[in-house]
């Protein structure tokens, strides 16, 4: 572990979870949802007590592919400069992050908002252990997950004889990466109304379905050869200069030792 993360500082800040939750909720309110979903909100959010493990493995020149990728759609080509740098980072998280999401599925027939079905998802037990590439080249920051790293805690807890499991399922091609190796989704469908009716809990197929969708999304968006690019090119050069002068305050009170 290259980085000491004082996670306890986060824990002691009682308002942090609350404020993160509020921020997320404000954001969720601002996005436009399809007509059959409404009232998407976060009911509960907790960062948990376990810190992620971040290990710096290598510092080197950025890969040629990064330049090639950037130059494909840039009119002004980016040439390698001695300031460019690339970090190979091992990220490990097996913590107790907990998020509870809720939303209403809406049937707009025969009239608008005629029938709603409340759905609640509780996400916990997130596990990931991956190799991540972080490259900085001429005001572009590229982040990409390279591959998963074998981990005794995360692998092989799948039942061998589960017919729906990974092992026996047919026609499954080799997946490049899954990033989120472990994630527990608990579903709760329906709502009791004045003590009547039943609530459907832990719908296994639904949980599996959601997890697959989520993994697919991550695989598509942030795993090599895809990446996320943060572009720091700014019209306002003054601002840029200023922020360069001040040392980066690392997120969440991280101090860096080695």
């Amino acid at each position: 572990m290259s980085f000491d993360i004082h996670w306890s500082n986060l824990e002691s800040d009682t308002r942090l979870n609350e404020s993160i939750k509020n921020h997320l909720n404000t954001y969720l309110e601002s996005i436009s949802l399809p007509s059959y979903v409404c009232n998407l909100r976060i009911l509960d959010f907790s960062l948990g007590k376990t810190a992620p493990n971040i290990t710096l493995r290598e510092i080197s020149d950025p890969l040629d592919e990064l330049y090639r990728g950037l130059n494909e759609d840039e009119p002004d080509s980016i040439t390698p400069s001695p300031n460019d740098i690339q970090f190979l980072v091992e990220v490990e998280y097996k913590g107790d992050l907990l998020v509870t999401l809720a939303a209403d599925l809406v049937l707009n027939y025969p009239s608008d908002n005629f029938m709603t079905l409340p759905v609640k998802l509780t996400i916990s037990n997130v596990g990931l252990h991956s190799l991540c590439l972080v490259a900085h080249l001429s005001k572009h920051l590229l982040i990409s997950f390279l591959c998963d790293i074998s981990d005794v805690d995360l692998d092989g807890n799948e039942s061998l004889l589960d017919p729906k499991g990974h092992v026996l399922s047919p026609r499954r091609s080799l997946e490049r990466i899954s990033i989120i190796r472990n994630m527990k989704i608990e579903t709760e469908i329906g709502q009791q109304h004045s003590g009547e009716g039943s609530v459907l809990r832990s719908v296994g197929r639904l949980e599996q379905f959601l997890l697959e969708i989520f993994k697919d999304l991550l695989r598509k968006e942030v795993s090599w050869p895809s990446w996320i690019e943060l572009d720091f090119n700014d019209d306002n050069e003054e601002d840029l200069q200023q922020s360069k002068d001040t040392p980066t305050t690392a997120n969440t009170g991280t101090t860096t030792t080695n």
Partner: protein
Amino acid sequence: MSFRFNSQAFEDNSFNEKIREKLTQALNSSSSDSRSPKVTKTTMGEGSTSKKDSGSGGKSRKFDILKSGITVSKVNFPTTPQLEILDLDISAQPRSLVKGICKISCKDAMLQIQTEVEANLLLVYSECSPSFATPNMICNDSFTIPITMVFSEIRLEAITNIFVKHSGIGISFNDVNLDFKFDCSMKILQSTIERRLKNSMHHLFKEVLPSVIFSMSQSLFLSEAARNQEMHNESRGDSRPSPRVVLEESDLQELSPANMLRLSTLISSRQTLSLHGTVLNVPSTIPGCLERQNLHRFNSRIPSLSNYYASYKEEEKSRQVEVKKSVGSSVPLPHTSFAANPNLLPVRTLQEGAYDLPTITGIQNRIFERSTDENERPRRRKLKIKMSGRKQQPQAPKEEEPKQAEQQPETEPQQQRLLPTPEIPSREQASTPVDIDPTVSTPDSPDTEITSPKPLSIRNPILSDVEKMDSEDASAKSFVAPLKLPVSITSKYFNYPADHISAQTPRRYSPQRINWEDALFNTSELSNLRTSLYSPIARGSLLNPTKERPDRGRILDNRRLSFVGLNFKGGKWGDDDDPPPYSG
């Protein structure tokens, strides 16, 4: 009640009105539709007449005793119905998406229907009888009777199966419990109609309601269906004849006799369990076909991280063996040896620094190319980060959150853990010497070969618009400072010559088709592989499949191997069906 109904709709009578309109529409549309006259009339309790109708054979005009349309004059749901979800199943198959079991119950509902009936049956009959029929009856006078039927105190309880498919909503009623009071304005007819109604209820729930609901739901899916139809029409515009399915004699002549012979040998060996004669004619001699029992051998040669660094995987293997032992059954578990072989970098390679970055990216690139469509490019989203002054800096950790949610709109927030990493490398940390194994970053020559051409990325213009909007949003809130390193370190730690960037190469599977079969089967290494793959029994290696492990580099040297059995779309045969085991 797991579903919540909008009680407003029930209080202000809007629901009743809507339902009344819809019902009127549905009843009249199907009564004018000559193909299903039975449906309407059975619902109306006039099933017997409609049966007569079909028998009378009036071709010129429909035999219809209804003088006017059917009007639903009153509908009342005083209490909210209840819909409870009992079970839910989701399958990602294209045909059916969601399957649910629901319980429906409603109480005290009321329904009033009005129509007019022609009581002069002679008139009706003569109107639809052919003109040459004699004698001519004098039956000019029409005798119209208005009928009002009231169904009250309707109490319904039913268990339903609901299927939501691409094309609409299918519903079936399983356990129907229905009770109502019936009141007819024609007292004479009341008992008759009531009896007939009760008899036709079964039909109503088995056929009428499902079909009505399905057609109603289609209006919801209509836009999508219309689009599909359009696409269908377009594809028809190519005027390509559809493939023939029926095998006629002429077809049989076109089939390769050799393949037929192989197939028949295979079938006979399956039936007799005899392996004689199959040595040359097993499916293995059919190009691209692989027997399942040999799959693990094939998998062990696929370029994946687990295979490439297989020698570092010992502990995990032994652990797996332990698991197998602890299962303790005499039943062999061949699945474990090959099926659960995910693409993982063994942790020991990291600890010992034995990994090689270009190799990893090369392998990942190739898996990407193989698992995705030829035209699919890697997504490389771009987020503009605006620097927003010093004021925001103290709040940076908190302000971070909305930005990340922005990037992955529908994902759960545990991703937050992923993205803060770019901020970690700060100046002090970078200037501290890092222990790097010099061999690590020097690419050795065989490995450079696998740094396969990188897929081009094409940004979707629509997407990038959205991104722009998103990033503008984000810019207000987020702040990420750029990395800036002292120039002096860089020369010390960078081993690569930084001045060459090779020109972009197109993706390997270029439009011109390679005659890969020929290329494949003439190479000696491949035929070696094939013999080892397809005749495991002869070599006795079936018994300990884990023993063989490819040495590093060999997998990647045999680049052409990846064509065998993969969904290489340029192949001559099997346009649609991907050969096992790899699908797109």
